[in-house]
Amino acid sequence: MGPSLAPASEAIAERGTPDAETSAAPKAGFEVRLANFTGPFDLLLGLISKHKLDITEVALATITDEFIKYIRRLQELGEDWALDEASEFLVIAATLLDLKAARLLPAGEVEDAEDIALLEARDLLFARLLQYKAFKQIAGIMGETLEQEAMRYPRQVALEAHFAALLPELVWRHTPEQFGELAAKALKPKDSTPEQVGLGHLHAPPVSVKEQAGIIGYRLKLGAPLSFQTLIADAETTLVMVARFLALLEMFRDRVIAFEQPGPLAELTVRWTGDDAEWDSSRLSEEYEASINE
Protein backbone atom coordinates (compact mmCIF):
# COMPACT_ATOMS: atom_id res chain seq x y z
CA MET A 1 0.00 0.00 0.00
CA GLY A 2 1.60 3.20 -1.13
CA PRO A 3 1.25 6.55 0.53
CA SER A 4 -1.09 7.65 -2.21
CA LEU A 5 -3.69 5.21 -0.99
CA ALA A 6 -3.41 6.11 2.63
CA PRO A 7 -5.23 9.45 2.87
CA ALA A 8 -8.49 7.92 1.77
CA SER A 9 -9.09 6.24 5.09
CA GLU A 10 -8.66 9.54 6.87
CA ALA A 11 -10.82 11.27 4.35
CA ILE A 12 -13.62 8.84 4.96
CA ALA A 13 -13.25 9.23 8.66
CA GLU A 14 -13.12 12.98 8.56
CA ARG A 15 -15.79 13.73 6.07
CA GLY A 16 -18.62 13.64 8.54
CA THR A 17 -18.74 14.79 12.09
CA PRO A 18 -17.26 12.10 14.26
CA ASP A 19 -20.13 9.98 15.41
CA ALA A 20 -20.51 9.54 19.12
CA GLU A 21 -21.28 6.28 20.83
CA THR A 22 -22.81 3.75 18.54
CA SER A 23 -25.31 2.91 21.22
CA ALA A 24 -26.66 6.40 20.77
CA ALA A 25 -26.86 6.02 17.02
CA PRO A 26 -29.16 8.57 15.49
CA LYS A 27 -32.54 7.42 14.30
CA ALA A 28 -31.91 9.03 10.97
CA GLY A 29 -30.73 5.73 9.60
CA PHE A 30 -27.44 4.82 8.18
CA GLU A 31 -27.90 6.44 4.81
CA VAL A 32 -27.19 9.88 6.16
CA ARG A 33 -24.19 8.65 8.05
CA LEU A 34 -22.74 6.88 5.07
CA ALA A 35 -19.28 8.23 5.35
CA ASN A 36 -19.07 8.32 9.11
CA PHE A 37 -17.98 4.81 9.84
CA THR A 38 -14.35 4.36 10.54
CA GLY A 39 -14.22 0.80 9.33
CA PRO A 40 -16.18 -2.37 8.71
CA PHE A 41 -16.48 -3.15 12.43
CA ASP A 42 -17.75 0.30 13.10
CA LEU A 43 -20.34 -0.14 10.40
CA LEU A 44 -21.30 -3.55 11.71
CA LEU A 45 -21.68 -2.24 15.25
CA GLY A 46 -23.64 0.69 13.92
CA LEU A 47 -26.06 -1.60 12.10
CA ILE A 48 -26.42 -3.92 15.08
CA SER A 49 -27.21 -1.05 17.41
CA LYS A 50 -29.58 0.48 14.87
CA HIS A 51 -31.63 -2.70 15.04
CA LYS A 52 -31.20 -2.86 18.79
CA LEU A 53 -29.80 -6.34 18.46
CA ASP A 54 -27.25 -8.15 20.55
CA ILE A 55 -24.11 -9.28 18.90
CA THR A 56 -25.27 -12.76 18.01
CA GLU A 57 -25.40 -14.76 14.87
CA VAL A 58 -29.01 -13.65 14.48
CA ALA A 59 -27.80 -10.09 14.40
CA LEU A 60 -25.18 -10.94 11.85
CA ALA A 61 -27.66 -12.74 9.61
CA THR A 62 -30.10 -9.86 9.90
CA ILE A 63 -27.69 -7.15 9.00
CA THR A 64 -25.71 -8.95 6.33
CA ASP A 65 -27.88 -7.55 3.57
CA GLU A 66 -27.64 -4.06 4.93
CA PHE A 67 -23.91 -4.32 5.24
CA ILE A 68 -23.66 -5.33 1.63
CA LYS A 69 -26.11 -2.68 0.58
CA TYR A 70 -23.89 -0.16 2.29
CA ILE A 71 -20.85 -1.24 0.32
CA ARG A 72 -22.83 -1.05 -2.93
CA ARG A 73 -24.05 2.39 -2.08
CA LEU A 74 -20.57 3.61 -1.49
CA GLN A 75 -19.66 2.27 -4.90
CA GLU A 76 -22.60 3.99 -6.50
CA LEU A 77 -21.67 7.23 -4.83
CA GLY A 78 -18.34 6.87 -6.53
CA GLU A 79 -16.50 6.75 -3.24
CA ASP A 80 -12.90 6.36 -4.10
CA TRP A 81 -11.87 3.58 -1.85
CA ALA A 82 -8.38 2.56 -1.12
CA LEU A 83 -8.03 -1.02 -2.23
CA ASP A 84 -6.92 -2.33 1.12
CA GLU A 85 -9.80 -0.62 2.85
CA ALA A 86 -12.39 -1.95 0.46
CA SER A 87 -10.93 -5.40 0.89
CA GLU A 88 -11.43 -5.24 4.64
CA PHE A 89 -15.08 -4.51 4.12
CA LEU A 90 -15.31 -7.25 1.53
CA VAL A 91 -13.65 -9.86 3.71
CA ILE A 92 -16.20 -9.19 6.39
CA ALA A 93 -19.06 -9.08 3.92
CA ALA A 94 -17.97 -12.47 2.62
CA THR A 95 -17.82 -13.90 6.11
CA LEU A 96 -21.25 -12.52 6.87
CA LEU A 97 -22.65 -14.06 3.72
CA ASP A 98 -21.16 -17.41 4.58
CA LEU A 99 -22.65 -17.29 8.03
CA LYS A 100 -26.00 -16.27 6.73
CA ALA A 101 -26.02 -18.96 4.11
CA ALA A 102 -25.21 -21.62 6.63
CA ARG A 103 -27.92 -20.30 8.93
CA LEU A 104 -25.45 -21.21 11.55
CA LEU A 105 -27.59 -23.45 13.59
CA PRO A 106 -25.21 -25.99 15.01
CA ALA A 107 -28.20 -27.88 16.36
CA GLY A 108 -26.73 -31.31 15.92
CA GLU A 109 -23.24 -32.58 15.74
CA VAL A 110 -20.70 -30.65 13.86
CA GLU A 111 -20.26 -32.84 10.86
CA ASP A 112 -17.50 -31.84 8.58
CA ALA A 113 -14.48 -29.63 8.38
CA GLU A 114 -16.46 -26.99 6.55
CA ASP A 115 -18.85 -26.59 9.47
CA ILE A 116 -15.98 -26.27 11.86
CA ALA A 117 -14.33 -23.67 9.68
CA LEU A 118 -17.56 -21.73 9.60
CA LEU A 119 -17.92 -21.87 13.35
CA GLU A 120 -14.37 -20.66 13.71
CA ALA A 121 -15.01 -17.83 11.29
CA ARG A 122 -18.07 -16.85 13.28
CA ASP A 123 -16.27 -16.93 16.61
CA LEU A 124 -13.37 -14.99 15.24
CA LEU A 125 -15.71 -12.38 13.84
CA PHE A 126 -17.51 -12.07 17.20
CA ALA A 127 -14.24 -11.84 19.05
CA ARG A 128 -12.91 -9.16 16.75
CA LEU A 129 -16.17 -7.28 16.84
CA LEU A 130 -16.31 -7.32 20.64
CA GLN A 131 -12.72 -6.28 20.94
CA TYR A 132 -13.27 -3.45 18.52
CA LYS A 133 -16.34 -2.41 20.48
CA ALA A 134 -14.28 -2.23 23.67
CA PHE A 135 -11.65 -0.06 22.01
CA LYS A 136 -14.29 2.14 20.52
CA GLN A 137 -15.78 2.74 23.95
CA ILE A 138 -12.34 3.45 25.37
CA ALA A 139 -11.66 5.82 22.48
CA GLY A 140 -14.81 7.68 23.45
CA ILE A 141 -13.63 8.01 27.04
CA MET A 142 -10.20 9.10 25.89
CA GLY A 143 -11.73 11.66 23.58
CA GLU A 144 -13.71 13.17 26.46
CA THR A 145 -10.64 13.20 28.69
CA LEU A 146 -8.55 14.88 26.02
CA GLU A 147 -11.23 17.48 25.57
CA GLN A 148 -11.52 18.10 29.30
CA GLU A 149 -7.78 18.35 29.62
CA ALA A 150 -7.52 20.73 26.69
CA MET A 151 -9.31 23.25 28.89
CA ARG A 152 -6.20 23.54 31.02
CA TYR A 153 -3.34 25.44 29.53
CA PRO A 154 0.15 24.66 30.76
CA ARG A 155 2.46 27.45 31.74
CA GLN A 156 5.25 27.21 29.19
CA VAL A 157 6.62 30.67 28.90
CA ALA A 158 10.00 31.48 27.44
CA LEU A 159 12.86 31.70 29.87
CA GLU A 160 13.25 35.16 31.35
CA ALA A 161 16.02 37.02 29.58
CA HIS A 162 18.38 37.10 32.54
CA PHE A 163 18.15 33.34 32.95
CA ALA A 164 18.52 32.73 29.24
CA ALA A 165 21.71 34.77 29.43
CA LEU A 166 23.09 32.31 31.96
CA LEU A 167 22.85 29.41 29.56
CA PRO A 168 26.22 28.01 28.55
CA GLU A 169 27.36 28.89 25.07
CA LEU A 170 26.28 26.27 22.56
CA VAL A 171 28.92 24.00 21.20
CA TRP A 172 28.61 24.37 17.45
CA ARG A 173 30.65 22.10 15.27
CA HIS A 174 28.80 22.27 11.98
CA THR A 175 30.26 23.89 8.90
CA PRO A 176 27.72 25.35 6.48
CA GLU A 177 28.35 22.30 4.23
CA GLN A 178 27.59 19.85 7.01
CA PHE A 179 24.56 21.87 7.92
CA GLY A 180 23.43 21.74 4.30
CA GLU A 181 23.78 17.96 4.29
CA LEU A 182 21.75 17.80 7.46
CA ALA A 183 19.06 19.93 5.85
CA ALA A 184 19.01 17.76 2.73
CA LYS A 185 18.51 14.72 4.89
CA ALA A 186 15.82 16.34 7.01
CA LEU A 187 13.95 17.74 4.02
CA LYS A 188 14.03 14.61 1.96
CA PRO A 189 10.58 13.04 1.82
CA LYS A 190 10.72 10.13 4.17
CA ASP A 191 10.54 6.82 2.42
CA SER A 192 7.32 6.72 4.35
CA THR A 193 8.56 4.07 6.77
CA PRO A 194 8.37 0.64 5.22
CA GLU A 195 4.79 0.06 4.22
CA GLN A 196 5.17 -3.66 4.41
CA VAL A 197 7.31 -6.20 6.06
CA GLY A 198 10.00 -7.51 3.76
CA LEU A 199 9.38 -11.08 2.78
CA GLY A 200 12.79 -11.59 1.21
CA HIS A 201 14.09 -13.53 4.14
CA LEU A 202 11.28 -16.04 3.79
CA HIS A 203 12.58 -17.20 0.44
CA ALA A 204 15.77 -19.14 0.13
CA PRO A 205 18.34 -17.60 -2.15
CA PRO A 206 17.94 -18.67 -5.75
CA VAL A 207 19.66 -21.84 -6.79
CA SER A 208 20.53 -22.34 -10.42
CA VAL A 209 20.03 -25.75 -11.99
CA LYS A 210 22.60 -24.89 -14.63
CA GLU A 211 25.15 -24.05 -12.00
CA GLN A 212 24.50 -27.33 -10.21
CA ALA A 213 24.71 -29.22 -13.51
CA GLY A 214 28.10 -27.62 -14.01
CA ILE A 215 29.28 -28.91 -10.65
CA ILE A 216 27.98 -32.42 -11.33
CA GLY A 217 29.45 -32.44 -14.82
CA TYR A 218 32.86 -31.40 -13.50
CA ARG A 219 32.89 -34.19 -10.92
CA LEU A 220 31.69 -36.91 -13.26
CA LYS A 221 34.09 -35.95 -16.03
CA LEU A 222 36.88 -36.88 -13.64
CA GLY A 223 35.99 -40.46 -14.71
CA ALA A 224 34.76 -42.46 -11.76
CA PRO A 225 31.02 -43.17 -11.45
CA LEU A 226 29.51 -41.49 -8.38
CA SER A 227 26.50 -42.39 -6.30
CA PHE A 228 23.66 -39.89 -6.03
CA GLN A 229 24.40 -39.78 -2.29
CA THR A 230 27.94 -38.65 -3.01
CA LEU A 231 26.79 -36.08 -5.51
CA ILE A 232 24.50 -34.40 -2.99
CA ALA A 233 26.68 -34.94 0.06
CA ASP A 234 27.83 -31.31 0.07
CA ALA A 235 24.46 -29.79 -0.71
CA GLU A 236 23.79 -27.20 2.00
CA THR A 237 20.08 -26.93 1.50
CA THR A 238 17.23 -29.01 0.25
CA LEU A 239 16.92 -26.57 -2.59
CA VAL A 240 20.45 -27.37 -3.79
CA MET A 241 19.63 -31.05 -3.53
CA VAL A 242 16.52 -30.59 -5.63
CA ALA A 243 18.46 -28.52 -8.15
CA ARG A 244 21.08 -31.25 -8.48
CA PHE A 245 18.39 -33.84 -9.01
CA LEU A 246 16.78 -31.71 -11.70
CA ALA A 247 20.19 -31.15 -13.23
CA LEU A 248 20.71 -34.90 -13.43
CA LEU A 249 17.40 -35.30 -15.24
CA GLU A 250 18.40 -32.60 -17.68
CA MET A 251 21.78 -34.13 -18.25
CA PHE A 252 20.20 -37.52 -18.79
CA ARG A 253 17.98 -36.00 -21.44
CA ASP A 254 21.06 -34.51 -23.05
CA ARG A 255 22.50 -38.03 -23.01
CA VAL A 256 25.68 -37.08 -21.25
CA ILE A 257 25.11 -39.31 -18.23
CA ALA A 258 23.73 -42.77 -17.50
CA PHE A 259 22.08 -44.17 -14.39
CA GLU A 260 22.57 -47.53 -12.79
CA GLN A 261 20.34 -48.86 -10.10
CA PRO A 262 20.57 -52.57 -9.19
CA GLY A 263 17.09 -52.71 -7.68
CA PRO A 264 14.21 -50.62 -6.38
CA LEU A 265 15.39 -48.17 -3.70
CA ALA A 266 18.93 -49.35 -4.17
CA GLU A 267 21.75 -46.87 -4.54
CA LEU A 268 21.71 -44.85 -7.71
CA THR A 269 25.01 -44.57 -9.48
CA VAL A 270 25.70 -41.91 -12.07
CA ARG A 271 28.25 -42.31 -14.81
CA TRP A 272 29.55 -39.83 -17.39
CA THR A 273 28.80 -40.89 -20.98
CA GLY A 274 29.04 -37.63 -22.86
CA ASP A 275 31.68 -36.03 -24.99
CA ASP A 276 33.92 -34.15 -22.56
CA ALA A 277 34.74 -31.35 -24.90
CA GLU A 278 31.33 -30.60 -26.31
CA TRP A 279 29.10 -30.59 -23.23
CA ASP A 280 28.62 -27.43 -21.28
CA SER A 281 26.06 -26.85 -18.58
CA SER A 282 25.00 -23.60 -20.25
CA ARG A 283 23.46 -25.63 -23.02
CA LEU A 284 20.86 -26.99 -20.65
CA SER A 285 17.30 -25.97 -21.32
CA GLU A 286 15.79 -23.04 -19.43
CA GLU A 287 12.91 -25.14 -18.27
CA TYR A 288 13.78 -25.21 -14.59
CA GLU A 289 15.41 -21.85 -14.18
CA ALA A 290 12.23 -19.92 -13.80
CA SER A 291 10.47 -22.29 -11.49
CA ILE A 292 13.35 -22.76 -9.13
CA ASN A 293 14.34 -19.16 -8.91
CA GLU A 294 10.96 -17.72 -8.23
Binding site: E10, E14, E88, A134
Partner: protein
Protein backbone atom coordinates in the same frame (compact mmCIF):
# COMPACT_ATOMS: atom_id res chain seq x y z
CA UNK B 1 29.21 17.92 56.67
CA UNK B 2 27.11 14.85 55.86
CA UNK B 3 24.74 14.85 52.94
CA UNK B 4 21.83 14.98 55.34
CA UNK B 5 23.23 18.06 56.98
CA UNK B 6 23.86 19.63 53.62
CA UNK B 7 20.24 19.12 52.68
CA UNK B 8 19.16 20.47 56.05
CA UNK B 9 21.28 23.48 55.36
CA UNK B 10 19.67 23.84 51.97
CA UNK B 11 16.27 24.01 53.61
CA UNK B 12 17.47 26.46 56.26
CA UNK B 13 18.90 28.64 53.52
CA UNK B 14 15.61 28.63 51.65
CA UNK B 15 13.60 29.41 54.72
CA UNK B 16 15.67 32.53 55.26
CA UNK B 17 14.40 33.93 51.97
CA UNK B 18 11.15 35.92 51.86
CA UNK B 19 8.35 33.42 51.50
CA UNK B 20 10.58 30.52 52.42
CA UNK B 21 10.98 27.18 50.67
CA UNK B 22 7.43 27.32 49.36
CA UNK B 23 8.07 30.54 47.53
CA UNK B 24 11.41 29.26 46.25
CA UNK B 25 9.63 26.23 44.81
CA UNK B 26 7.03 28.48 43.27
CA UNK B 27 9.77 30.57 41.69
CA UNK B 28 11.24 27.48 40.06
CA UNK B 29 7.82 26.32 38.88
CA UNK B 30 7.51 29.65 37.08
CA UNK B 31 10.36 28.93 34.68
CA UNK B 32 9.88 25.28 33.79
CA UNK B 33 8.39 24.70 30.38
CA UNK B 34 7.75 21.01 30.75
CA UNK B 35 6.74 18.87 33.70
CA UNK B 36 9.54 18.62 36.29
CA UNK B 37 9.85 15.59 38.55
CA UNK B 38 10.04 16.02 42.31
CA UNK B 39 13.60 14.69 42.09
CA UNK B 40 14.60 17.45 39.68
CA UNK B 41 12.91 20.06 41.82
CA UNK B 42 14.52 18.70 44.98
CA UNK B 43 17.95 18.78 43.35
CA UNK B 44 17.41 22.32 42.15
CA UNK B 45 16.31 23.53 45.57
CA UNK B 46 18.89 21.44 47.40
CA UNK B 47 16.35 19.81 49.70
CA UNK B 48 15.14 16.24 50.03
CA UNK B 49 12.51 14.78 47.73
CA UNK B 50 10.23 14.30 50.74
CA UNK B 51 10.41 18.00 51.60
CA UNK B 52 9.69 19.00 48.02
CA UNK B 53 6.77 16.63 47.78
CA UNK B 54 5.27 18.06 50.96
CA UNK B 55 5.68 21.54 49.60
CA UNK B 56 4.19 20.58 46.24
CA UNK B 57 1.11 19.07 47.82
CA UNK B 58 0.82 22.05 50.06
CA UNK B 59 0.88 24.43 47.11
CA UNK B 60 -1.47 22.24 45.17
CA UNK B 61 -4.02 22.38 47.96
CA UNK B 62 -3.59 26.07 48.43
CA UNK B 63 -4.07 26.86 44.74
CA UNK B 64 -7.23 24.82 44.80
CA UNK B 65 -8.62 27.00 47.54
CA UNK B 66 -8.20 25.04 50.72
CA UNK B 67 -6.98 26.79 53.79
CA UNK B 68 -3.40 25.84 54.27
CA UNK B 69 -1.15 26.33 57.18
CA UNK B 70 2.20 24.70 56.68
CA UNK B 71 3.77 23.80 60.00
CA UNK B 72 7.32 23.68 58.66
CA UNK B 73 7.29 27.20 57.45
CA UNK B 74 5.40 28.47 60.43
CA UNK B 75 8.72 28.79 62.19
CA UNK B 76 9.83 31.65 59.99
CA UNK B 77 6.71 33.45 60.83
CA UNK B 78 4.02 33.35 58.22
CA UNK B 79 0.67 31.79 57.94
CA UNK B 80 -1.36 31.36 54.82
CA UNK B 81 -5.08 31.40 54.76
CA UNK B 82 -6.80 31.25 51.43
CA UNK B 83 -10.37 30.39 50.83
CA UNK B 84 -10.77 31.16 47.13
CA UNK B 85 -9.19 28.98 44.48
CA UNK B 86 -6.52 30.61 42.41
CA UNK B 87 -6.76 30.95 38.65
CA UNK B 88 -4.15 28.27 38.21
CA UNK B 89 -3.46 24.83 39.55
CA UNK B 90 -0.44 22.70 40.19
CA UNK B 91 -0.69 19.22 38.74
CA UNK B 92 1.36 16.07 38.70
CA UNK B 93 1.06 14.87 35.14
CA UNK B 94 3.20 12.59 32.97
CA UNK B 95 5.53 12.02 35.90
CA UNK B 96 6.19 15.69 36.52
CA UNK B 97 4.78 18.81 38.12
CA UNK B 98 3.63 21.79 36.20
CA UNK B 99 1.38 24.81 36.52
CA UNK B 100 -1.80 24.94 34.46
CA UNK B 101 -4.52 27.49 34.14
CA UNK B 102 -7.68 26.25 35.82
CA UNK B 103 -10.15 24.68 33.41
CA UNK B 104 -12.95 26.98 34.55
CA UNK B 105 -11.23 29.72 32.61
CA UNK B 106 -10.68 27.77 29.41
CA UNK B 107 -12.73 30.14 27.29
CA UNK B 108 -11.04 33.25 28.58
CA UNK B 109 -7.52 31.85 28.45
CA UNK B 110 -8.22 30.43 24.99
CA UNK B 111 -8.63 33.98 23.70
CA UNK B 112 -5.04 34.71 24.66
CA UNK B 113 -3.38 31.42 23.88
CA UNK B 114 -4.01 30.63 20.27
CA UNK B 115 -1.30 28.12 19.83
CA UNK B 116 -0.61 24.90 21.56
CA UNK B 117 -4.21 23.93 21.37
CA UNK B 118 -4.60 20.83 19.31
CA UNK B 119 -7.59 20.45 17.14
CA UNK B 120 -9.91 17.62 17.97
CA UNK B 121 -8.87 14.19 16.92
CA UNK B 122 -11.09 12.35 14.49
CA UNK B 123 -12.90 9.21 15.54
CA UNK B 124 -10.43 7.16 13.50
CA UNK B 125 -7.47 8.82 15.20
CA UNK B 126 -8.97 8.35 18.67
CA UNK B 127 -9.62 4.67 18.09
CA UNK B 128 -6.13 4.12 16.75
CA UNK B 129 -4.65 6.01 19.67
CA UNK B 130 -6.69 3.90 22.08
CA UNK B 131 -5.47 0.64 20.57
CA UNK B 132 -1.85 1.82 20.66
CA UNK B 133 -2.19 3.04 24.24
CA UNK B 134 -3.46 -0.32 25.45
CA UNK B 135 -1.41 -2.61 23.25
CA UNK B 136 1.92 -0.80 23.16
CA UNK B 137 4.44 -1.45 21.86
CA UNK B 138 2.45 -2.45 18.84
CA UNK B 139 2.87 -2.60 15.08
CA UNK B 140 0.61 -0.90 12.60
CA UNK B 141 -0.43 -4.28 11.23
CA UNK B 142 -1.67 -5.26 14.65
CA UNK B 143 -3.61 -2.03 15.17
CA UNK B 144 -4.99 -2.39 11.70
CA UNK B 145 -6.18 -5.92 12.47
CA UNK B 146 -8.01 -4.71 15.56
CA UNK B 147 -9.63 -1.75 13.85
CA UNK B 148 -10.37 -3.59 10.66
CA UNK B 149 -8.94 -0.85 8.48
CA UNK B 150 -5.60 0.39 7.31
CA UNK B 151 -4.18 2.82 9.86
CA UNK B 152 -1.05 4.10 8.09
CA UNK B 153 -2.15 7.67 7.60
CA UNK B 154 -3.74 7.95 11.02
CA UNK B 155 -0.54 6.67 12.62
CA UNK B 156 1.38 9.31 10.70
CA UNK B 157 -0.95 12.03 11.96
CA UNK B 158 -0.66 10.84 15.55
CA UNK B 159 3.14 10.76 15.26
CA UNK B 160 3.17 14.29 13.90
CA UNK B 161 0.99 15.44 16.72
CA UNK B 162 3.53 13.98 19.11
CA UNK B 163 1.02 11.62 20.69
CA UNK B 164 2.79 8.43 19.65
CA UNK B 165 6.33 7.58 18.64
CA UNK B 166 8.45 4.91 17.08
CA UNK B 167 9.75 2.54 19.74
CA UNK B 168 12.02 0.36 17.69
CA UNK B 169 11.25 -2.65 15.57
CA UNK B 170 9.81 -6.02 16.31
CA UNK B 171 12.72 -8.48 16.44
CA UNK B 172 10.73 -11.12 14.60
CA UNK B 173 8.82 -9.33 11.88
CA UNK B 174 10.98 -6.24 11.63
CA UNK B 175 7.83 -4.10 11.77
CA UNK B 176 8.03 -0.67 13.41
CA UNK B 177 6.46 -0.67 16.86
CA UNK B 178 4.64 2.34 18.28
CA UNK B 179 4.08 3.56 21.80
CA UNK B 180 2.47 6.60 23.34
CA UNK B 181 4.61 9.58 24.36
CA UNK B 182 4.84 11.55 27.58
CA UNK B 183 3.09 14.33 25.69
CA UNK B 184 0.17 11.93 25.36
CA UNK B 185 0.15 11.46 29.14
CA UNK B 186 0.24 15.22 29.54
CA UNK B 187 -2.69 15.70 27.21
CA UNK B 188 -4.58 13.00 29.07
CA UNK B 189 -3.66 14.52 32.42
CA UNK B 190 -2.35 11.25 33.82
CA UNK B 191 0.93 10.13 35.29
CA UNK B 192 1.40 6.89 33.39
CA UNK B 193 -0.46 4.57 31.05
CA UNK B 194 -1.31 2.42 34.06
CA UNK B 195 -3.80 5.16 34.97
CA UNK B 196 -5.80 4.70 31.79
CA UNK B 197 -9.27 3.29 32.40
CA UNK B 198 -9.35 -0.48 32.61
CA UNK B 199 -10.09 -2.16 29.35
CA UNK B 200 -11.49 -5.35 30.85
CA UNK B 201 -14.94 -4.05 31.85
CA UNK B 202 -15.43 -3.21 28.19
CA UNK B 203 -14.24 -6.62 27.10
CA UNK B 204 -16.54 -9.17 28.69
CA UNK B 205 -14.99 -12.61 28.77
CA UNK B 206 -12.42 -11.96 26.14
CA UNK B 207 -9.28 -12.34 28.14
CA UNK B 208 -7.80 -14.84 25.72
CA UNK B 209 -8.48 -12.77 22.67
CA UNK B 210 -4.91 -11.77 22.11
CA UNK B 211 -3.76 -15.27 21.58
CA UNK B 212 -6.71 -15.87 19.34
CA UNK B 213 -5.72 -12.95 17.22
CA UNK B 214 -2.10 -13.72 17.08
CA UNK B 215 -2.67 -17.25 15.97
CA UNK B 216 -5.18 -16.45 13.31
CA UNK B 217 -4.14 -13.12 11.91
CA UNK B 218 -0.57 -12.23 12.42
Amino acid sequence: MSEEEAVQDGLAELEALPGGARAALEAVLMVIDQPATSEELAAGLNVTVAVVEDLLEDLQREYSGYTVKAPDVDAVGFAVASTAPRGFELRNVAGGWRIYSRSDFADIVGRFVLEGQTTRLTQAALETLAVIAYRQPVSRARVSAIRGVNVDSVVRTLTQRGLIEDSGTDPESGAVLYRTTSYFLERMGIGSVAELPQLSPHLPGLEGIDEYYDASRM
